[in-house]
């Protein structure tokens, strides 16, 4: 005798992501900072940016502060990052 088992689970819908090619050289690039609004996120990100500047001459091109840690980065913010920076560092804090 067979028994049908009803599966209560589902998975996220797959979407394809195209990765931007990695820069061959970090010298003088522009970095974007995405602050998730937790305590110390901004402090951590600025410290990282400072080190990137010391080592590679990288400047901060744009900063974004999320509405909350659980919110996605807005489309407007993503568009600004695409325009103004070569890569982004997103920070956790706490």
């Amino acid at each position: 005798m067979t028994i049908d088992i009803f599966d209560p689970t589902s998975s996220p819908e797959r979407s394809s992501i195209e990765f931007v090619p990695r820069p061959k050289n970090l010298e003088k690039l522009r970095v974007g900072l995405v602050d998730n609004s937790k305590y110390n996120s901004k402090a951590l990100l600025l410290r990282i940016a400072d080190r990137l500047n010391s080592r590679y001459g990288i400047e901060i091109g744009h900063t974004v502060t999320k509405t909350s840690p659980g919110h996605p980065v807005s489309e407007i913010a993503i568009a600004a990052l695409k325009e103004k920076v070569n890569f982004t560092v997103a920070g956790i804090g706490d």
Binding site: F6, T9, P12, R14, T67, P69
Partner: protein
């Protein structure tokens, strides 16, 4: 064939229940194994086809289909008549205002409090009185449980994976109750929020914790609310920093005090807002705010909510006993807001 002592179908059912545990599909409690007839009955009660979309959570690339809602509802032990309530709660869960990804993943361990209003509460026997938060009522426990099972199974919100609660709480299994609209001297929550009294609704709230408030001797609202305000200003809660909404629940004996003294919900909110506060000095000393304590900090105050309107006032609980409760909020007012959704019966 069964053994000499057990019929074969009982043994098969027991094996099926065990297989759901083995697959990791339960909340830690045995589930009701779904079958074709029970899943179809659930879908029919919701007026949906299996592939219909019940909700979407875009931050997780998740589309919740009606069949998954039905299956998890059966597993929770729901009756088909509960399906419209569950579908309303799923819409609330998926409402961007509710901010699913934050509270559901957080180490903060929020439960989903479901407050139900309107005539369906009586039609379905959703408890609003004695043991409003507790055991004993099928509708309350299974509706709440269905939502949690759906979260775990269909939105992958599993402990240790995308549910990183440090401690969690028993309320995460189920926290679902009806507002006691007969007891209440005030307009019910859904009417306050613009819905007709004859409509039924679910209101979802990301609840950090439940704190019971005991006060036997107060005969005036001010005295009663002072104790409640003290608990609201708890230095260890998320509210005092992030200032999410908060729910205050008044039960029978306490509700009578407001009725006798003609206090409105607005008066309750204003008083609680004024009284519930902690000094910045205290919060810095307790490490809840950063920085050194300055001379001005003792006279600077922080409230557990940003605005009196963020205090949600409802009546629930039994007629006897000098108890009320606060449901503290998760996260912050930017991260999540309670959402009220109509219940639609097809």
């Amino acid at each position: 064939m069964g053994t000499d002592s057990e019929p074969a179908d009982l043994e098969r059912t027991a094996a099926l229940i065990e297989s759901f545990f083995e697959r990791g599909w339960t909340d830690g409690l045995p589930v009701v194994p779904p079958c074709r007839s029970t899943v179809e009955a659930m879908l029919q009660a919701g007026g949906l086809k299996p592939s219909d979309t019940a909700g979407e959570i875009q931050t997780r690339n998740i589309r919740i289909t009606a069949d998954k809602v039905a299956i998890n509802a059966v597993m929770a032990g729901c009756l088909p008549s509960y399906m419209p309530v569950i579908l309303s709660a799923v819409k609330g869960l998926c409402n961007p205002e509710f901010g699913y990804h934050g509270f559901a993943t957080s180490t903060g361990g929020a439960s989903v409090a479901i407050i139900i209003n309107g005539p369906m509460t009586q039609e379905l026997g959703i408890n609003c009185a004695d043991n409003a938060f507790g055991p004993g009522f099928r509708a309350n426990l299974t509706i709440g449980r269905a939502i949690r099972l759906l979260m775990m199974n269909a939105i992958n919100t599993r402990p240790g994976k995308l549910d990183r609660s440090t401690l969690g709480s028993p309320a995460k299994i189920a926290l679902c109750f009806a507002e006691n609209e007969r007891l209440s001297p005030w307009p019910p929550l859904h009417v306050e929020r613009g819905f007709a009294a004859e409509l039924s609704t679910t209101t979802l709230f990301a609840c950090e914790s439940i704190i019971q408030i005991y006060n036997q001797l107060s005969s005036r609202p001010e005295a009663l609310l002072l104790g409640m305000a003290d608990a609201m200003a708890n230095m260890g809660s998320m509210n005092i920093i992030g200032q999410p909404q908060m729910v205050v629940v008044f039960a029978g004996e306490h509700t009578e005090i407001f009725r006798k003294c003609n206090w409105t919900k607005e008066a309750v909110r204003e008083f609680l807002f004024e009284q519930a506060r902690r000094s910045v000095a205290d919060l810095k000393q307790a490490g809840r705010l950063p920085g050194e304590i300055t001379p001005d900090d003792a006279a600077a105050f922080r409230h557990p909510v940003q605005d009196p309107k963020d205090i949600i006032v409802v009546c629930a609980g039994g007629n006897a006993g000098s108890f009320s409760a606060i449901l503290t909020g998760w996260g912050s007012i930017k991260a999540t807001r309670s959402v009220t959704t109509p219940i639609i019966v097809p």
